[in-house]
Subunit: 361 residues, 4 copies
């Protein structure tokens, strides 16, 4: 069940980068939610390779097909299966990798664990696996809109290497984020980020950065302590994205240097609504949303594939060397933005159904 | 199922700070593991209040009783239930809190979610809830020792506010960590940290910090991608601890400023063993342990309870003010060290059983 | 997780017949449901030994304690832990069983599986284990009443060996069933059944029979196909009760000799309500309740413990002989009636919450 | 998660009878198990319509495609997705059913639960849904063979209406069962059964019957009490098959009339092996296999679709009438035999992995 996520809105992703295809089965989607393949395709297109000058030139259309679970434009309440065929097969580009472990990739650990791996293009550890997540999250987003029309989850590139954007999480819009190919919410920094990515790519090197996310319009009450706290489930969801190394919510690591007197968020009444003056809590207290915007950050390491020769070992346990080949993103963050949003929507959808089951009055 | 953790080694914690008691039921412990109440008590004693001059003066013995699941000093393979009675009841100390929400606590969100809460001492959101985790983790530790005798999980205080310790995760020992009441691995800094905690307590204020953890001797192969990656499950486990705001593994957030050429961990052979020269991966690649030490950090915010009056709102939705009372830790980190270790052992135990089920040959 | 049942209303039972006690933790109970220990005790008293002249003379009060999850007479939404202490310890009565396997008991299979067992009184395979189920089901019953006030689940003894009672499932009442110690719904047959039980007990022998159950007032729509059909979950729940050998719903095994023309239940309108003229479906169609009474039967084998010497084998793998000792029920059915009701309520409660989560509009 | 089965070998089926297709994702299959599409197809061919003179004349090839999870002829340890396209679309044959509820079908209950249904050919409640189960079970069978080469699960038609076959569960072979189109293990009765099915079909009526199953070569120790007893999980699995109304194991319902002295299975040593003289337990004691053959029976009601007009109600809540149309099995049992075997293998595979995880030494 390691490729399953969610308690009520449960998704099962499948597929390797080479093979029949990748996809997802969603078990636990409420009936009568309007849903079409176009709803999924719009999100898949934001994730697909070849979408802009700063992503990998691999050109995969990633056309999805809904195999089941809908009828006359609405969900049936039965499992929704989505399939995206693999098209751009080039196993020969990976033949050297059948024998040598790429540094900081999953080649060695998959072999260590399973005693086998599909070495063609990364197999199950390929970023293509996230297609199933993004498709499922497009469904989750529709469910969320149905129950909480005001809820909106957004993500953007906060920093690329050491270039940091200036963004107001309370006001940034999807339009602004999508207006530049690097998907930052700060148009003034976008150019610098794009230049840096191009530069590092031309060097055959790679870079990472930080993606920031916000959930606005979330009602108080979502989150299931003690283990399934909203931020704990978000942390797991984010750390399950390839290339991530860290997660923080609200004041995060920098909050550890404040005192309680400075860190505490004081409550006050705004009309009928309980609000806090500050938001160091990041919108969650005791694992439950408090109605303030939920703010978090996710660290992405630099892409492991680089175009220079690196020392490594072979399957036969001999020291050797490997040089990256193929077409890769020198920086995954622009394409990771929709994945961070996807994981956010998957967690929110599951939690809203869980809250509905036990606590809604 | 929000108070359950684990797929195979599944724990169900229960209990509020006031009421009959707190505890845990472990379903999925292998049979024939030697186990006694003393194994649990030793870990519970590291967590309990009143253990040193820098922890809350509340004095709770937290004596545990194993109700089931063992026979003649060994586990039976049936559920292990552990109970710790609540002793130090002082509901009257909390009476004001029945009407007012403590800032940056879970009072408001519990009411928002459940429409009720046990306001006596924090109820379910009290740190007493972690007793069940620590007890279960003591069992997990025995299971781990049975299957992987060389595996060791350790945690220590890395920083208190802005005082940072210098610790080598590869060599630090449990003895060194336990040799000082603040539970840092750097005895030179311990004194400074202790002084800062005393100082902030005397001011009625509070502080946070960072706990660092290492898993040494973990074989390659643990972790269940794509969702139940080892670091993803660690992230969730850590973020489920009260007062945590962030998690990072390996190079974490600071790794986002490196290039791939600097960040990649090159493989080499050390005898029969595949090793890496550097460890920016933090011992996990593709969600699976690679045999290198697993390194992570957890951010703890400053304790929410402080002894000065703060603005807040009442249950009746009126602006008001609340001053902290009672006996609290001005800094939770020393007592959180065994909890971080506990969560680590719970995740490891579950993953070793999952690996055993499907992949062990 | 083999001692856990339910997806949303999830119970974890624990405890052996000898040891600290038996009980349950319920994770997933909605908040604000009125609940007291008396609600549980009334059901536990129907299950306890020593309650009448035809049950085992062991006299266990089975007094329960709610350890957590309630506050001021209502559920909190947090885990509800219930403990019943073991009192009537007589391990010495079982010493022979430490070496020899009782025929048709679980002694041999527990050893085969776990490599160990608590041989004192049956350990985990003892009927005392059902205490946790009955306690949890008392909570489930309160939840059901909260959401569906008209729903009622009843069970009764339909047959003892070859003595069959005549009962109308549509009209039989709890009062009639409880009016006789054998718990049949047919007072005319009760005397004969009681006599047969006394007779077989005086012979040191034992008997079984059939328990029938009905769920009245269940709204259409409960059940989660394809796997978690309402009758499938009932079947599992019933077959998880010790000593059960069969389950049937509606027309059951005898319906296999009818033709479709005779078996089909025709729909008709009764006012606003869709009804069926006959009820061979037993109230479920396609795994979902159709609003008609849900009818089922459960087969119980004769008690395995009898007072005559029987051939068996020892732990050391030698042929030997064993004579039953101790105080046992010659017929478990009267005490199994509340357990069948309990399992019914547990399944219904879980399904109503699951329905609420995804399908309620 | 209602279309998911299994704790470790977890399957998620999907698909309606009309739409893109039906299939399954298996999450939790061990790596390095030899597997090809032919392994699946052989079982699917036993289930498919149009295979013989006594099954529905619908002719669906049910060709399967493995989309993921295998590489170079072996499993990878990643999710195995299997897709079977729907081919024989005739939605117009079902147009009347869009407005009227077929008696003893799932039409009404699906509408009651979900507020919608795919009325084209039964939608999710169609028997086509079992394709995913059969495909997954073919994988399960390979896993079982890998770990327990001697284990064999067989099923056969025990009775059709009142025609009962005489079969020895200890010796009957797959070859004998497959040698006749009705799939009984008694060739002498096969002809009579076939004639009865043809006769009832010519009358536009339908019949049911009983399928018997055996698991031979199962080692002692499988089964996870207290809830996931082997027979309890088998009961659920069988009652989740469309058209089933009952399940019994070992002596079943008829055992309820025996006394304990007659019913108990005495142990004896056969060489190194613990055996029982009789097998009223049906191979399970205390929910765990005891090494004897596991014997069970499943009741199937007569097919609901018959060719005569029957009273029913419409979606608009009016009394009306409906006459069956289309091509249906007058008796589902011959095609249900591979499904009963499939459910058996799914449960066994899950239990062997669970046993391996916690108890194997």
């Amino acid at each position: 069940m390691s490729s399953q996520l969610g308690q009520l809105f449960r998704i099962s992703t499948f597929g390797e980068s080479h093979g029949g295809g990748v996809g997802v089965v969603i078990d636990g989607c409420p009936p009568l939610i309007p849903l079409s393949e176009a709803d999924l395709q719009i999100e898949l297109d934001r994730r697909r390779p070849g979408q802009s000058e700063i992503t990998t030139p691999r050109n995969e259309a990633d056309q999805c097909e809904i195999l089941s679970g809908t009828f006359e434009g609405k969900t049936l309440g039965s499992p929704i299966a989505v399939l995206v065929r693999n098209k751009d097969h080039r196993p020969e580009a990976y033949s050297e990798m059948s024998e040598k472990y790429r540094p900081s990739h999953a080649d060695y650990t998959y072999d260590a664990k399973f005693g086998t791996r599909n070495w063609q293009g990364g197999g199950r550890s390929s970023a293509r696996e996230t297609i199933g997540r993004v498709a499922a999250a497009a469904v989750a987003k529709k469910v969320i809109k149905h129950f909480y029309p005001d809820l909106e989850a957004l993500a953007w590139v906060k920093s690329i290497q050491n270039i940091e954007a200036s963004i107001d999480p309370l006001t940034v819009t999807a339009e602004v984020i999508e207006s530049n190919v690097v998907r930052t919410g700060d148009p003034n920094t976008a150019g610098k980020m794009i230049d840096r990515i191009k530069e590092i790519r031309s060097e055959g090197n790679s870079i990472g950065g930080i993606i920031e996310g916000v959930i606005r319009g979330c009602p108080p009450g979502l989150g299931e302590p003690v283990f399934d706290r909203l931020e704990a489930d978000l942390a797991k969801a984010m750390l399950s994205i390839p290339a991530t190394k860290g997660f923080e919510v609200g004041s995060g690591f920098s909050g550890t240097t404040l005192t309680g007197a400075d860190h505490n968020d004081h409550f006050y009444m705004e009309g009928e609504k309980v609000r806090t003056h500050t938001n160091n809590s990041g919108g969650v207290q005791g694992g439950i949303s408090n109605g303030e915007p939920i703010l978090f950050r996710v660290a992405f390491k630099p892409t492991a594939t680089i175009m220079s020769a690196q020392p490594t070992v072979s399957k036969n346990r001999e020291d050797t060397e490997l040089k990256g080949r193929g077409r890769h993103d020198a920086c995954v963050l622009p394409r990771a933005v929709p994945i961070v949003e996807a994981m956010t929507n998957l967690i929110l959808c599951d939690h809203l159904l869980r809250h509905r089951a036990l606590c809604e009055r």
